[in-house]
Every structure is written in C-alpha cells, then in structure tokens.
C-alpha cells in the first residue's frame, strides 16, 4: 500500500488559505498572530510530507527549526501586542496609523 503525497499538500494549501483569510479579515492583533500559527502548522505538515517523499529526515529537521522560529515570532509579536495595548488600550491594528503616508 503506497500513500500519495497529494492529500498532504492539499491539506497544507487549505490550512494556509484559512490562515491567510484570518490574518487579513480579522481586526484583532492576537487573532492575527493565531492565524500565523495556523500557517506555521500548514508549513510543518508540508515540510514533513516532502521529507518523507524524498525518504530523508531533513524535512523533520527543518520542521524543528520552524518550531523555533514560531516560538521567537510569538515572543516578539506578543511583546508588541502588550506594548500596543498599554499605549492605546485596544487591539485594533487600524489605530496604528502613525506611519501612514
């Protein structure tokens, strides 16, 4: 019984699309970061599936590095959320328009 790689890539695309919609459509900084986490999950699935496809473990090694990058992104992003909330008492990204030209 051989498995195809196709369903994994399809799942990756669907999850990434859902994350993209959430990132653009929701106007809340925390939900936007949660949407990036959805996209990270999609990419982890794709990396592991492609690594399995090639019969090597590099895909899982890259997925480990992806988790490290996701942790760093969460740390910095949530610190920024705290700073924004202290300054503006709101999580709406539309109020951050000081640098709009």
């Amino acid at each position: 019984m051989t498995q195809q790689i196709y369903p994994y890539i399809a799942l990756c695309g669907i999850l990434f699309g859902i994350g993209l919609v959430g990132f653009v459509a929701r106007r809340n900084l925390i939900v936007m970061f949660l949407s990036t986490e959805i996209m990270f999950q999609a990419i982890i699935i794709a990396a592991v599936a492609f690594g399995r496809w090639h019969g090597q473990l590099e895909g899982q090694a890259f997925a480990l590095m992806l988790i490290a990058v996701a942790a760093a992104e969460a740390a910095v992003g949530l610190a920024l959320v705290i700073v924004v909330f202290r300054r503006h008492e709101s999580l709406d990204p539309d109020i951050l328009n000081a640098m709009r030209g």
């Binding site: 498995q3 195809q4 369903p7 994994y8 890539i9 799942l11 695309g13 669907i14 999850l15 990434f16 699309g17 859902i18 994350g19 993209l20 919609v21 959430g22 653009v24 459509a25 929701r26 106007r27 925390i30 939900v31 949660l34 949407s35 986490e37 959805i38 999950q41 982890i44 592991v48 599936a49 399995r52 496809w53 090639h54 019969g55 090597q56 473990l57 590099e58 899982q60 090694a61 480990l64 590095m65 988790i67 490290a68 990058v69 996701a70 942790a71 760093a72 969460a74 740390a75 910095v76 949530l78 610190a79 920024l80 959320v81 705290i82 700073v83 909330f85 202290r86 300054r87 008492e89």
Partner: protein, 173 residues
Amino acid sequence: MSFSISDIVFGISSLVAVLSAIRVVTHKKLLYCALYLVLLVLATAAIVLQLGGQFLAAVLVLVYAGAIIVVYIFVIMLAHRPRPSDASLRRLLPAAAAGAVLAWSMVAIPGGTGALLPPAASQSNVSELGRVVLIDYVVVLELAGVLLLAAVIGAIALARKAAVPDEQERHVS
C-alpha cells in the same frame, strides 16, 4: 478501493485540523480561538506521527500546545478587552479570494506525481533525526538558539521600555 488504518487516521485528523482552523478564524471569543488552536496542533501532531515523525510529534505537543499557546493565553488574559465584533467585511471578500486562490493553487497540483516511500526500517527514527540535526545541520541549530535568545531579550526590552514612559506620562497628567 480499500482504506488502510493510516488513511483513516489521516482523514480524521485532517478533518479535525481544517474544522478547528476555521473555528480559530471565525470564533468571537479569543480564549476559544486559542483553545481551538490547541486542537489544530494536536491534529497536526497526529498527521506528523502518521508520517513517521515520532519525535517531531512529541515536540509539537510539548512546545506548541504546551508552551507557545500558554503564552498566547497569558496575553489574552492580560490584554483583552471584549468588543462586539472585529471582523471587517470590507476586507473579508478580497481575503477569501486570495485564500481560495492560494488553496486552489496547492490543491490543483496534479495528483499521482509521487508515491510516498515506505517508512524507515527501524521502529523509531529519533537517533537518525538526532544525527541529522546535531551533525549535518548543527550550524542551523546554533543559529536557531541564537535567534531564540535574541527574540526573548527583544521581547523583554520591548515590554520594559514601554512601561516606563507611560507611567511618567500618567504622573505628569
């Protein structure tokens, strides 16, 4: 056409993953969004386990569901102020179009281009994964450690610097 057990596992966990991702994006309460993200991470771990990544599945559950989501929930408790609705309908249509195009471009990759290879002979591949990470990609691993350290220091600096001027402003006014 017969379905093997791994096919059934993949079907159920991918269904759970897609549904919980939709709930993360559409739910109104932020805490429930984070909890549905935990469900999504668990489904992802099941898929990774079904692909033969035992260690990676354990790391996903421990680090993602155990640590990163807890940080999110901390911030939601600290910084959330409920609002009636934050979905912007003006942006929803282009966002849905972009997401659908992107998902379709991945789904439309012609099927049957490659069969997955059978898993490695040994029951557990942790030692081989350790060899790959700690010998072949040790520089990448060190860089990831430096990146994490820099991110944590940056987060502390950001959160502290912002606190001081705000308190001074409050004292002045």
